[in-house]
């Protein structure tokens, strides 16, 4: 059920949205809508990013210097704001990824007992 999947992912996404955005932008510049779609696609629609939370998160990451933004044109010649990862963002992504890996392994160990 999409609804339950959304609700589950909503809780899951707390605190991990930044990580998901950084990981998505690792593959290249993307606009806000594209980031949300990419996250949903890569998670087989399990993770549905709350669009209302997406833009505050993007601007927060930009303020921290982890991503940069620039206006550009899409493939349909629409004007859009593209976000790209900065070197500081790549370092942050690595840290976040390591932390998430440790955390998820710990949870798996607990659940496996």
């Amino acid at each position: 059920m999409p609804t339950s999947a959304y609700q589950d992912s909503d809780d899951l996404l707390r605190g991990t949205l930044d990580l998901l955005i950084l990981r998505t932008l690792q593959t290249g510049p993307q606009h806000g809508h594209g980031v949300g779609v990419a996250i949903a696609a890569r998670s087989d629609d399990v993770l549905q990013v709350d669009h209302g939370s997406l833009y505050p998160a993007l601007h927060r990451l930009e303020r921290r210097g982890w991503i940069d933004a620039e206006w550009g044109l899409t493939e349909n010649k629409q004007r859009a704001k593209f976000y790209r990862l900065t070197p500081a963002g790549r370092r942050q992504l690595q840290e976040e990824r390591d932390r998430w890996t440790r955390l998820s392994r710990a949870i798996v160990r607990v659940l496996g007992q």
Partner: protein, 570 residues
């Protein structure tokens, strides 16, 4: 730098950033709509789904804006804007408040400067860093500046915590030279006096050790810059000038730097003579040899260490019958008034503390008066709310930053919040609000509370300066001012529509300008009345009445003033 630039751009060019965000969200909705259409939805369904997924665009923008700027800075700017608006709204009150605060601050700054100058400043020309004044404290708390010359020699020979210690005393002398005879105040000082105090000799030199031991033969003197400029008329040949001091010949060997007249405020010397040993007979004047002392701490040594050392040295002199053991040595940081038993020296810091308390109290009193005055004179923005609270008996709402910040951007944005926050809350403590609205129970301008239901509820509809009128009034009624003079700009109308009470279906009006005329429609009739009490003594409400009552009225009567009896008008 890019990050800083982005922050500054968003903070300073908020309009442009807002437009960017609007465009970004529009693009998002468009792309999401396209995605849903591609998924098989019709355009309306797709647009709806896109909006549902995003939520309220206004909320998204608000949450995003919170990321942009430093919230505290924004609130500070908001407060500054509000403060500026308050200041400009009541210029007379603001000018009075500013003038009062400026006077208090100016007065206190003057007093503090004087107190600081007296208590803590060194004498002109003295380099006070590291200087300590040796004082003598009696058992009864009395302080003395002088002690025997032998104490000075003992201290200066044995104290390792001081780089140098100088001794001084002063006498009145009569100086004679070719221009005449002058009574002067002279300092009798140890040869290291100028060096210890850090005072420059601008012409000639100070004293040598050997010069202090010559007695009356070969007596030398250093004169003040003022004495050189006045008595000696700035003569270039001042050095070597022969003078006579109390009948003894002497020679001027130096001129002290301008402004210097001794180490302490009370000295005010114009001439200094070297001292080593007992005061010479020609200067004794029967006072014996007692000197005051000032020492400069050695590098890296503290006043506490010096105090301990001098106490030890002082205790070593217990057996000397020539010194007074009833005192104990006390080191205090040097200033022009430090040490001794003067009022300033002994109680100066207590006086300063009292000044501080008085200053604080004065500032508090002024602030309290300004605040009280401001509260007694509510701004135009507060008046409708004050009337509403009076009519409904509602409590004063809690301060709302956003409400305050929104003020000035137009009535429309804050009006709904205000109405929700105040209207229709609680019982009617002033039932004349509804009674006034009906015009019937209070037609004789007397309030009969017993005939009114105290639990009647009122719904209030506010009209701002630009919104007074039928649009905000239920049931259908129109209220508008017929202004006189400058009243139009300051005029504020509140239309009161009562429902559920005895005055259901009728309405009342209130205005805030004395003498203004109101004209309004109700039930197909035009009503006219005149504002009689624009600003009651408590500044918390407005009343409408037609007839002027003579003589003094009680507050209850003023409250009872009601709209005029309706009469038909064209």
């Amino acid at each position: 730098m890019t990050r800083l630039g982005t922050l500054l751009r968003r903070s300073l060019l908020r309009g442009a950033a807002d437009r960017d965000l609007d465009e970004e969200i529009r693009f998002h909705l468009a792309r999401e709509t396209e995605r849903h259409i591609a998924g098989g939805l019709s355009r309306p369904e797709a647009e709806r789904a896109a909006r549902m997924a995003l939520g309220s665009p206004a909320l998204v923008k608000e949450r995003t804006r919170e990321v942009w700027v430093w919230t505290a800075l924004e609130q500070l700017l908001q407060d500054l804007r509000f403060g500026f608006r308050i200041l400009t709204k009541s210029p007379a009150l603001s000018l009075t408040a500013v003038a009062l605060v400026a006077l208090v601050i100016g007065g206190n700054a003057t007093v503090f400067s004087m107190a600081h100058g007296i208590l803590a400043k060194p004498s002109p020309g003295v380099h006070a860093t590291g200087l300590m004044t040796v004082s003598w404290l009696a058992e009864d708390g009395f302080r003395e500046t002088h002690n025997g010359y032998r104490v000075f020699t003992h201290f200066s020979e044995h104290a390792s915590t001081f780089a140098s210690i100088t001794a001084y005393d002063f006498r009145r002398v009569t100086m004679m030279h070719e221009n005449g005879s002058y009574a002067l105040r002279a300092g009798i000082v140890s040869p290291n006096y100028f060096d210890t105090l850090g005072v420059r000799i601008v012409k000639g030199r100070g004293f040598g050790i050997d010069e202090a031991t010559r007695g009356t033969s070969g007596l030398v003197a250093v004169v003040s810059h003022r004495l050189w400029q006045t008595t000696f008329q700035g003569a270039d040949g001042i050095l070597g000038q022969a003078i006579t001091l109390n009948g003894q010949p002497a020679t001027v060997v130096g001129v002290a730097e301008p402004g210097f007249h001794g180490a302490i405020m009370a000295e005010l010397a114009d001439l200094w003579l070297p001292l080593a040993g007992e005061i010479p007979a020609h200067l004794d004047q029967g006072r014996g040899t007692a000197v005051a002392m000032i020492g400069r701490l050695a590098a890296g040594r503290s006043g506490r260490e010096a105090q301990a050392e001098l106490s030890t040295l002082w205790s070593q002199m217990q057996a000397d019958p020539t010194v007074s053991q009833t005192y104990r040595v006390l080191l205090v940081p040097y200033s022009a008034t430090a040490g001794g038993n003067s009022l300033v020296s002994m109680f100066g810091y207590r006086i300063l503390a009292i000044f501080s308390v008085v200053t604080l109290l004065t500032v508090l009193i002024v602030c309290a008066n300004v605040v009280d005055r401001a509260r007694r004179r509510p701004s135009a923005r507060d008046r409708p709310a004050a009337v509403a609270r009076r009519v409904t008996g509602a409590r004063r709402p809690r301060p709302d930053r956003r409400g305050i910040g929104a003020f000035g951007s137009g009535v429309d944005r804050r009006l709904p919040l205000r109405v929700v926050g105040i209207a229709g809350r609680g019982p009617v403590s002033d039932p004349c609000g509804c009674a006034r609205a009906s015009g019937l129970p209070c037609a004789d301008t007397r309030l009969d509370r017993d005939r009114l239901r105290p639990r009647a509820r009122c719904r209030l509809y506010f009209g701002g300066h630009d919104r007074a009128g039928a649009a905000d009034v239920e049931p259908a009624a129109a209220a508008f001012p017929e202004s006189r003079g400058t009243g139009a700009r300051r005029f504020a109308i509140q239309a009161l529509g009562c429902a559920g009470g005895p005055a259901a279906g009728v309405f009342g009006v209130a205005a805030d300008e004395c003498g203004a005329r109101l004209s309004f429609l109700h039930g197909g009739q035009r009503h006219r009345c005149r504002v009689r009490h624009a600003q009651p003594p408590d500044g918390d409400g407005e009343y409408v009445g037609q007839r002027q009552r003579r003589g003094r009225q009680s507050r209850a009567h003023r409250n009872a003033s009601c709209p005029a009896r309706p009469h038909a008008a064209g």
